[in-house]
């Protein structure tokens, strides 16, 4: 079965619209809560029938949860691999739920409910993974939305909860609040000024950690980092978010400062480099994913530095998502080989930049 993306509330990409604070540096904010249902083994240990019962119970409960009343549900276990990859590329489902992770084959009962800026994954590593996604740096807004969903849902299905350990999860690293707040942030200034090592080391001292674009185990490409809280137990949700807010706020300031320094001390070198990145994207005939990410990173920096005036951050954000393999195949309406993907990517990027080109410069 394929997936009709036009059915997704806000196309599933409202979080890319470049609204929200510091949108030139912070792409998006995500908060997720891990929850399990009482009475079943955790997903990895559960039998097929148990997972299907979990899904049935959640489906019933969701009908009376207001923030999901417009939600669209997808059964991942009934979708073709290309459709699952599409949802994963939009950051709407995890690699594990999409069955794209070699260690975790697709599970029966794997499903996702998607509403405006909210998602509920069923039968991920935990029975439930609630997530809120927002554009820009918006931890409080994301938390308010997810907390409401959590209270509504938790009032309709019984969560596994322990007086001492808090919300119980399959992996002990998520137990307690079950909360992971993460901020997707673009740090080319700190990378170019070679300050990034120090910044990342200090994150770890502050109880935070970082990952690449796609979370756990993913590589850092295009200078995009996901910064998130490392621990989930022993501090309240508010304390964890406060810490993340403060530290990421500080990283944003350092990035802005690094950009000012770059422009002041190496203005023409930077300007030349970034225009070359733009030139490559504008005219290349074949682009690998990593190449595209790295050049897009350069162009995004140029826009942040106001070196390119009328290219919008929104366009760049969309390019990040739509130039990925599954999206290109979806647009072309057929499966693509790797070299065809690279050609299609270059064509797509060229076209998107052409459309905005008239006034660039």
């Amino acid at each position: 079965m394929s997936v009709d993306l036009s059915l997704l509330p806000d196309g599933g990409v409202g979080w890319l619209d470049a609204s929200g604070a510091h949108a030139d540096i912070v792409l998006s904010t995500r908060i997720r809560l891990a929850r399990n249902l009482e009475g079943y083994a955790f997903t990895g240990r559960a039998r097929d029938g148990e997972r299907l019962r979990v899904l049935a119970q959640v489906r019933e409960a969701v009908t009376s949860v207001s923030s999901l009343d417009q939600a669209v549900m997808y059964r991942l276990d009934e979708l073709a691999p290309s459709a699952r990859a599409l949802l994963h590329e939009r950051h709407l489902v995890s690699k594990e739920l999409a069955g794209l992770d070699t260690q975790h084959p697709l599970r029966s009962g794997a499903a996702v409910f998607l509403a405006d800026g909210l998602g509920l994954m069923v039968n991920e590593e935990d029975h439930l993974r609630l997530q809120a996604l927002r554009s820009g740096f918006a931890l409080q807004e994301a938390f308010a939305a997810i907390d409401k969903l959590d209270r509504d849902l938790g009032g309709r299905v019984p969560y596994s909860y322990h007086g001492e350990f808090g919300f119980l999860t399959a992996c002990p690293t998520n137990v307690g609040t079950g909360m992971r707040g993460s901020v997707l942030i673009h740090l080319p200034g700190l990378v170019l000024t070679k300050e990034i090592g120090k910044v990342l080391a200090s994150l770890q001292q502050m109880g935070l950690t970082y990952r690449g674009l796609y979370g756990e185990g993913s590589e850092v490409v295009g200078n995009f980092f996901q910064i998130s809280n490392q621990t989930t137990l022993g501090r309240s949700e508010e304390e964890l978010l406060d810490q993340l807010l403060r530290v990421v706020g500080h990283v944003v300031e350092r990035e802005a400062e690094a950009r000012r320094v770059l422009l002041r001390d190496a203005g023409y070198i930077i300007e030349d480099k970034l225009w070359r990145a733009y030139g490559t994207l504008r005219y290349a005939r074949s682009l690998t994913f990593d190449e595209a990410m790295n050049y897009l990173s350069g162009v995004r920096l140029a826009v942040g530095l106001k070196l390119m005036s009328s290219l919008s951050v929104y366009t760049l954000n969309k390019l990040l998502i739509f130039s990925q393999a599954a999206h290109l195949a979806y647009a072309e309406g057929r499966a693509l080989t790797e070299s065809e993907t690279n050609l299609a990517r270059a064509r797509y990027v060229r076209r998107a930049l052409d459309e905005e080109a008239g006034s660039v410069g």
């Binding site: 083994a41 938790g154 596994s160 001492e164 919300f167 002990p172 137990l233 022993g234 309240s236």
Partner: protein, 158 residues
């Protein structure tokens, strides 16, 4: 217990085989087991987190404990880095407390407290779900008298 094969060294490997519907038990020392091609080294965890946990969790005397709900053992946990169900947290409570202290620097949840919905309301939700199903069927079957009755009962419950 001595090794069934050499009768010299202590048996450390206990092998159960089933051949033509008969169960054979063989107790072997490490060397004789290796000679027969039996893997004797403890399975090393493939998961990086499990590896980390492997070093962190004090385990020796809990290896035989099984979670009575999901059958998970400490060895399963070390191999996957995942607990099997919520009851595991009670079965392996002591080890888990220590593990959480090491992973999070703390073992006590101080975030939002939670009380599961009362079973009464759960039951009511189940009854409501059933009544709504029957209502749907009644309307489909044009049994309007029954539908009206069901609607009244739903109204009372809601």
């Amino acid at each position: 217990m001595l090794c069934d094969s050499c009768r010299e060294r202590d048996a450390v490997v206990h092998l159960t085989t089933i051949e033509s519907n008969a169960v054979h038990q063989l107790h072997l020392c490490e060397r004789c087991a290796a000679d027969r091609g039996v893997e004797t080294t403890v399975a090393t965890p493939k998961h990086p987190l499990a590896e980390f946990l492997h070093q962190q969790v004090p385990v020796p005397n809990t290896d035989n404990i099984r979670c009575t709900f999901c059958n998970t053992t400490m060895a399963d946990f070390r191999a996957t880095g995942r607990w099997g169900c919520a009851r595991c947290y009670s079965h392996f409570e002591v080890g888990i407390r220590e593990l959480l202290r090491r992973v999070h620097g703390n073992h006590r949840h101080v975030g939002r407290a939670y009380r599961p919905p009362m079973s009464e309301s759960l039951e009511r939700a189940a009854v409501l779900g059933e009544l709504k199903d029957r209502l749907r069927r009644a309307i489909e079957g044009e049994q309007f008298e029954l539908a009206a009755d069901l609607r009244d009962r739903i109204r009372v419950l809601e």
